[in-house]
Amino acid sequence: MVDGGNPMTTEHVRRVAPAPRHASPRTTEPAKQRILNRLGGSAADLTKQTISPYAAAVLRIGYGLLYLTFLLREFPHRDEIWGPGSPWTPALATELFTQTGWNSILTLSDSRAYFEVCYGAALVICALFLLGWRTRATSILFAVVVASFHARAIYMTDGGDNLTLLMAVYLMFTACGRRWSLDARRSRLRAVPDNVDAPPETPATSGPYQSLRAARQTVTTVMHNCAMFVIAAQVCIVYGAAGLYKVQGGTWGNGTALHYVVNNSLFRPWPALSAMVDSYPILVAAVSYLTVLLQVAFPFVLFSRLKYVVLAMLMGMHLSIAVLMGLPLFSGAMIIADAVFLPDRFYRFLEQAWRRARGGSPLP
């Protein structure tokens, strides 16, 4: 959208008055000019303003919590999945790595003690990531943990694990620690109380240090914005592909696909519930069609208010999958990914509601 031309007007961005183009009354502008201005405006925003810092924080908290839950849930099975005692032996895993280019900290040693240390460290890293402590460094460690555990048990992963891995990698490039984090708390305590959003002020020094700082800020911002865009586009690819591949299937076409899904014994934790769903062919057909329609339509409704309806329906779909099919991790990964499309004003509203509920005291 922009070339790399002129990003250097960014220092002290938050102190300068808005450019005149925002002030000009929009009603008198010709439509074309307005669109161009808006494009220009978003081009400038790309280098100056971190887009959706709240959504990034929600992704951080969501995936951190999700992976922590996953690791804790599999505590009794940790050796079977990732440990030296797994049927996918360390030797097999290492052999596969040489073919695929994967790698994992878990195969560095076959010792049981080493594995337990890695598992414990992974728990701590997930917790720190979700709390947002030294977030940039922690996010890199989190990605290493997720990638390592994923690669070690590659034949035990499913779509939810795959999405979590992608998000862990993308989140490294975001400024996901700016809101709702220990980092945010620290900089708030350090900064002037009423100036929460501004980066901590430094003495007005000029010279190379300041320009380097500004350059770093620009690059960080652009990287964050690009990563958020990639995350959003990745979610669209997930839904688009999932929907379009279904369109090719006969059972999704004749509205019976859900019948085969609810009759799969591995995804039927509540047989009575599944049998009940299965006993309503009209419901089965409607849900089968709706699933495909929602997934295919998803990328196209994002630019209208209709997206809230679709997001709500998708959330309903994922919650039903979580319960009906016993796939809470998969559904959780998808729901968290959807959160990237909610606007910051929604999250700020939640924040204020939370503050009011706590009697006006500042966030922890």
């Binding site: 959208m1 070339d3 031309g5 002129n6 250097m8 007007t9 002290h12 102190r15 450019a19 183009r21 161009l36 201005n37 494009l39 220009g40 081009a43 599999e74 009794p76 099975h77 049927p87 032996t89 097999l92 052999e95 073919q99 690669a151 048990a153 034949y155 035990m156 992963t157 779509g159 992608l166 000029s206 190379p208 300041q210 320009s211 380097l212 350059a215 620009t218 690059v219 652009v222 690009c226 990563a227 990639v230 990745q234 690819i237 592909a241 999932a242 591949y245 299937g249 059972t251 999704w252 696909a257 085969y260 899904v261 009759n263 799969n264 014994s265 591995l266 934790p269 089965v284 016993g326």
Partner: protein, 234 residues
């Protein structure tokens, strides 16, 4: 599109100028222009971020999309970029959900002290998984993914032939054998020398129509017995 983009960036530059002026006024000090080197480096970094994002998304799209002239032409580049970290597959219950259920069982063989060969009864591995899922709101990956995905991988690498014809096929076979050995050994303590798997594939009955349940068209269950695999002590 390109014209639009150029205009957009021009607009950006025009839009930025007043801000510089503003800054001079508000700061009340001489503006220090950042050194050209820093400016250039920042520009390059920004351009790189944008380029990588676009290239990445194109690669992911082509990797996920069905094979097409573009992905065939750039096959190597796409693979190099995607693998291994960004590998993904979103054929979730697509194109069709499995219309069959698979029952995987194992039995073991050992030579008794008298020299007679003893073959155990079939041990139903799938039934163990099914009962672990039942009334469990949060089943483990070892239940819902382990055996299911190992068998799919076996089918992918072997087809209907039980002879491993590739390195990957041999690895998957070893994996499947280890799973069976661990599971059987977990339930029965006695040692054994060889293990055999049997997979019975049954069609899921057709959905009921408005005239009631479908007449049970008896699609015969297909039974596949794999060869005996000798068990080494791990």
């Amino acid at each position: 599109m390109r014209a639009l983009r150029q205009q957009a960036s021009r607009t950006q530059r025009e839009g930025s100028e007043p801000q510089i002026v503003d800054r001079m006024v508000t700061d009340g000090e001489q503006p220090t222009e950042p050194p050209q080197l820093v400016q250039a480096a920042t520009g390059i970094a920004v351009a790189l971020c944008l380029m990588i994002s676009v290239v990445h998304l194109m690669a992911v799209f082509l990797h996920v999309a069905p094979s097409n002239p573009i992905s065939q032409r750039y096959d190597e580049q796409i693979d190099a970029w995607i693998n291994p970290v960004f590998e993904q597959n979103w054929k979730l219950f697509a194109p069709d959900p499995d219309a069959v259920s698979r029952q995987i069982s194992a039995r073991t063989k050992r030579t008794s002290p008298t020299g007679a060969v003893e073959v155990s009864a079939w041990f139903d591995l799938t039934a163990v998984d099914d009962s672990a899922v039942k009334h469990n709101p949060f089943p483990s990956h070892t239940t819902i993914n382990l055996l299911r995905r190992a068998w799919t991988a076996y089918l992918d690498t072997h087809g209907n032939d039980d002879q491993p014809r590739s390195q990957r096929a041999r690895m998957v076979q070893e994996y499947l054998r280890n799973i069976a050995v661990d599971r059987v050994a977990g339930y029965r303590g006695d040692p054994f020398e060889a293990i055999q798997l049997r997979v019975i594939t049954r069609a899921i009955p057709l959905p009921a129509t408005k005239d009631g349940p479908q007449p049970a068209i008896s699609i015969p269950a297909e039974t596949r017995e794999l060869p005996w695999w000798t068990v080494e002590t791990r």
